[in-house]
C-alpha cells in the first residue's frame, strides 16, 4: 500500500521516502549531464540529444514497469494518484514552459541540480520561477475559465483510445527504439561532439 493510498503522504515517513527518492532523482539527473544548461539547451539546436534520449528512456522504463506493476496488482487505481488532464491548461502551460526552458536554459528539476553544483544562472532561474509561481497564484481566479476548457479529470490514453496498455506500451517501445537509432545515425553522420 502506497503512502497516498494510506492517506499518509503528509507523514514524516513519507517525507523521508520522498527525500530518498529525490536523492536518487537528483543523482541521475546530474549523471546525465543535466546540471549543465548548455547541454540541456543543445536539444533545441539539435546539437545534443541527451534530453530526448534520457526522457524517452525514462518514460519507456516507467511505462513498461508500471504496466508490469499493474498486471501484478502492485499498482492499482487506488494506490497510484494520476494527475488530472486539463487540455487547455497543459497545452498553454507546456508552450509557455518550453519558451522558458530555452530562454532560461533550465527546467525546475534540473535547475535544482545546477544550483547544487554551483551554477548561478540556475539559482537565478529558481528564484524567478518562485516569483512566476506567485504571479500565477494572483491570476488563478482570472484563468479559471481557460483552465476549464478540456478539463477531463483522471483519464488514460489506453482508456481514451480503447487500446490495451500492453499494446500501446509495446508500440511506444518500438517508436522509442526507432528514435534512438535515428539519433545514433545523425550523430555519426554529423560527427557530432556532444558536451561531455
Amino acid at each position: 500500500m502506497s503512502f497516498y493510498e494510506a492517506g499518509l503522504l503528509a507523514s514524516p515517513a513519507a517525507f523521508v521516502a520522498a527525500l530518498l527518492i529525490g536523492l536518487s532523482f537528483g543523482f541521475w539527473l546530474e549523471r546525465a549531464g543535466f546540471g549543465s544548461a548548455r547541454k540541456l539547451a543543445g536539444i533545441f539546436y539539435l546539437r545534443d540529444f541527451a534530453v530526448v534520449q534520457v526522457m524517452f528512456t525514462a518514460v519507456v522504463t516507467g511505462l513498461v514497469g508500471l504496466w508490469a506493476l499493474e498486471a501484478a496488482g502492485v499498482a492499482t487505481p487506488a494506490s497510484l494518484h494520476r494527475i488530472d488532464t486539463n487540455l487547455a491548461a497543459q497545452l498553454a502551460g507546456g508552450a509557455i514552459f518550453g519558451a522558458g526552458f530555452v530562454i532560461g536554459g533550465w527546467c525546475p528539476g534540473t535547475a535544482l541540480v545546477g544550483a547544487a553544483s554551483g551554477k548561478l544562472d540556475a539559482l537565478a532561474f529558481l528564484l524567478s520561477a518562485g516569483v512566476g509561481s506567485l504571479a500565477y497564484a494572483l491570476a488563478h481566479g482570472a484563468l479559471a475559465p481557460i483552465e476549464a476548457l478540456g478539463a477531463c479529470g483522471v483519464v488514460t490514453l489506453p482508456e481514451l483510445l480503447g487500446i490495451s496498455a500492453g499494446v500501446l506500451t509495446t508500440a511506444l517501445f518500438v517508436v522509442a527504439l526507432a528514435l534512438f537509432a535515428g539519433i545514433a545515425r545523425l550523430e555519426r553522420r554529423r560527427r557530432m561532439e556532444v558536451l561531455r
Binding site: F15, G33, G104, G105, G130
Partner: protein, 170 residues
Amino acid sequence: MERKPYWNPYVAGVGIGLTMLLAFVVLGTGLGASGAIARGAAAVAHAAAPEALEHNAYTGPWFEGGSPLAYYLVFMAVGVLAGGFLSAALAGRLGIAVERGPRLGASARLGLALLGGLLAGFASRLAGGCTSGVALTGMSAWVPGGWVFLVAMFAAGFAFAPLVRKEWTS
C-alpha cells in the same frame, strides 16, 4: 579533482525511470520539482504579506495545515539538491559558474535565466507541474495531459530557440 565525463544517457534514463517507479509504488505519486519551488516562494512571501498568501484561493490551502513546506515534494526537492550535489562532487563537476555560450556576457545570461524562470514558474502552476510532474510522470502513466504538455513544450522550445541562439551557440 579531474572532471569526469557524463554517463551514458540511456543508463541515466533507466536510472530516472526506476526512481520514478519507486515513487509510483512507495509514494503512490510520481516525481516532481516545481511544486516545491512554488511552496518555497509562498513561504518566503508569507513572511512579508501573510494575509495575502493565506487568503489567496491558490496558496491559501497550503497554509491550512501550518507551513506550506510540510509537503512531500518539498522533501523530494531537498533530496534532488543533495543528490545533484553528491553526483557533481564525486565527478569533479562542482564550481561556481554562469554557464552560457561564448557570445554572451554573464549579466545578460543571468537576465535571461530570470526571464526563463519567470515563464517556467508561471507555466508550471498553469499546467499543474513541470517536466518532472507532468511530462515524465504523466507520460509514464499514460496520462494524455503529460503528452500534450511535452509536445507543446518542444514546439515552443524550437520556436523560441532562434531568438536566443546567441545565448547558447558559438
